[in-house]
């Protein structure tokens, strides 16, 4: 018997009992659709997190004061000292490393921003002109902080988009003066609206030169230093250099923490990929359930078609051929079920994408492949027993319907 004829015959017997066929296809397709939708959600979550990180800046290394020891007690704690502050000079010293392209020191505090009678409590970010590049911000109107002496406390500020709206509405803001704490600042720019990125609403910020922030908050220490490595390949080098330079400047004490965004991102990436796989795996169990259903229904089909099987044998079909016919049925069913499941799954993912537009929902290719192969595999695997049973039927008894 030719393969094409085998499949045609199998197709004919599937068509012959449409309810049974539809039921089995439904079970298969629900399994496949479940895998597709669930992994699409997991993948969406992963991409969301990755995107969030990249809005934070690329090739980023962050220097924080203090050291989080994971093993043992740090020397600073042993001697009862508090960790030393990071200063502006420390930040500038980092530029000595070849691996480091740019730095942006950060000081954060809150102050009252007022224009005439209007006032509002705001988060003030003290930094330098390079922050724009390092943090991937973009300027809407006017200019960002000017480059120049890092220690010079100019009285200029850049407003977040929402701050500008609240204080000025549709009026021109650039060139106007506002009061921040007890000091007057001239507005030189307004940030483009950016929305949220990793919990920091840049729309509600006020950015001033870092030296001015130090004067305003009466401090000389930095909240952290954002370091941009020369390229992706230099991230580890930049991290290492930053650590060494800080140790040198802090008389041999390791009292800063240097983290790479890459490491954090990789961890998230790993966790979320694992999660997606786990969820996909759980969904794949429904495929096994579908397989058991197929086996059950096929066993019933064998019982119902005993006479036909007996006849085929009498007409000269060997047992292997009978087995092939049942495998072909299973293969056709699984394929049709997979296709239906993919359509269902992609439609479901699209609907979820519409409901949560911020989540980049899209099923990963490996999950789609895995779902289809699992469907095909279980379909054929679970038809082995019914097929063998059919192939082993005694033709005389089968023809008699026994």
């Amino acid at each position: 018997m030719k393969l094409a004829d085998t499949f045609q015959f199998a197709y004919g017997s599937l068509r012959g009992s449409p309810t049974r066929t539809l039921l089995m296809m439904l079970a298969m397709s629900i399994g496949v659709a479940a895998v597709v939708v669930l992994t699409a959600l997991g993948e969406g979550a992963r991409r969301y997190v990755v995107n969030q990180f990249s809005t934070l800046g690329t090739n980023l290394v962050i220097v924080l004061p203090g050291r989080t020891e994971t093993a043992g007690i740090g020397p600073g704690l042993m001697s009862g000292q508090t960790p030393r502050d990071i200063t502006l000079d420390d930040a500038q010293a980092l530029l000595r490393s070849r691996a480091i392209k740019r730095i942006a020191p950060l000081t954060v505090g809150s102050a009252t921003l007022s224009r005439g009678a209007l006032n509002r409590e705001v988060v003030v970010l003290g930094s330098t002109s390079d922050l724009l590049e390092v943090r991937h911000m973009s300027i809407g109107i006017g200019k960002f902080l000017p480059a120049g002496d890092i220690n010079e406390g100019l009285s200029v500020c850049v407003l977040g988009n929402q701050m500008k709206q609240e204080l000025f509405g549709n009026e021109q803001a650039v060139g106007q003066w506002v009061r921040l704490g007890d000091r007057r600042f001239r507005i030189i720019g307004v940030l483009a609206s950016q929305g949220e990125s990793m919990g920091m609403r840049t729309d509600e910020l006020v950015i001033i030169p870092v030296a001015s922030a130090h004067q305003l908050f009466n401090t000389s220490s930095l909240f952290r230093i954002l370091v941009e490595a020369r390229s992706r390949d230099y991230i580890e080098q930049a991290k290492h250099d930053a650590e060494e330079i800080m140790v040198q400047r802090h008389s041999g004490e390791r009292d800063v923490t240097v983290i790479t965004q890459d490491a954090v991102l990789a961890t998230f990436d790993r966790i979320l990929t694992t999660l997606t796989m786990a969820v996909g795996g759980i969904a794949a169990i429904s495929l096994a359930v579908a397989g058991v259903l197929i086996m059950n229904v096929m066993l019933i089909a064998v019982a119902q078609r005993v006479k036909e099987i007996g006849l085929l044998k009498a007409l000269g079909a060997p047992g292997t051929q009978i087995r092939m016919l049942f495998f072909a049925e299973a293969a056709l069913l699984s394929t049709a079920g997979s296709v239906a499941g993919l359509v269902l799954g992609y439609a479901g993912s699209m609907i979820i994408g519409q409901i949560y537009p911020t989540l980049p929902v899209s099923p990963p290719w490996w999950a789609v492949l895995a779902a289809c192969f699992t469907a095909l595999g279980t379909g054929i695997l679970f038809s082995v027993w019914p097929a063998r049973r059919a192939a082993k039927l005694d033709p005389v008894a089968a023809l008699a319907g026994r």
Binding site: M1, D5, K313, L399
Partner: protein, 226 residues
């Protein structure tokens, strides 16, 4: 040429042994017309199944065209059935979801014959058996006589050397039964060996060679001499 040598067939039912064939020795020559008669349970169907390779002897040898087919495996026996043996059953055994033409085509599909040849042969056969206008009908849209004609067409489409019919007229009324029998007898002209199992003495008497069975044995084997 078919030869059974000392063939026995015993069924085990529970802890009881039921012997359906006892030490059968039989030789069928090409082109013979044989009827097998005997009371119910005498082993006629078992004998026919044995001849058609649907059943294996408990002991003894089956020679087909000089070769021992008892030792063949499932695949090889299936091939012999496909190429040399045609079956006609009392209850027709047509596949209900296939049309008359598709039922006739079935043995050729199993044999892997190309589509064009299949269609051509089906058409010729349907015409010969007066079924042309019923080709696209399903079995349940056909009369008993038409169904048996379709079954005969199916049994002969592979040009077998032996045609085995187990009470082919058993489910038909007298007139249709005779028509079907005439059709089968017509095959003799093509040199086919025809074996008909029947309860009907009148039908049985038409064969040149009449075998009577009783309790699993051949009790008489008469040749009609003209």
């Amino acid at each position: 040429m078919i030869e059974l040598q000392n063939v026995c067939r015993t069924f085990t039912v529970g802890d009881q042994q039921v012997t359906a064939l006892r030490d059968i020795n039989l030789r069928l020559d090409p082109g013979e017309y044989i009827s097998i008669m005997g009371p119910s349970g005498s082993g006629k169907s078992t004998m026919l199944n044995m001849l058609g390779l649907l059943d294996r002897p408990t002991s003894g040898t089956y020679l087909l065209d000089g070769g021992n087919v008892t030792d063949l495996n499932d695949e090889q026996q299936a091939r012999v059935r496909r190429e040399k043996i045609g079956f006609v059953f009392q209850s027709f055994h047509l596949v209900p979801r296939l049309t008359a033409a598709q039922n006739v085509e079935l043995p050729m599909i199993l044999a892997g014959i190309p589509v064009e040849e299949r269609k051509a042969r089906v058409q010729v056969l349907m015409q010969n058996y007066g079924l042309s206008d019923r080709a696209d009908h399903k079995p349940d849209q056909l009369s008993g006589g038409q169904r048996q004609r379709v079954a005969i067409a199916r049994a002969t489409v592979m040009n077998p050397t032996v045609l085995l019919a187990d009470e082919p007229t058993g489910n038909l009324d007298r007139t249709t039964g005779w028509e079907v029998l005439k059709l089968l007898e017509g095959l003799l002209e093509q040199g086919i060996t025809l074996v008909v199992v029947t309860h009907d003495a009148e039908i049985g008497a038409r064969a040149q060679r009449r075998i009577h069975m009783l309790d699993g044995r051949i009790v008489s084997d008469e040749q009609r001499t003209k």
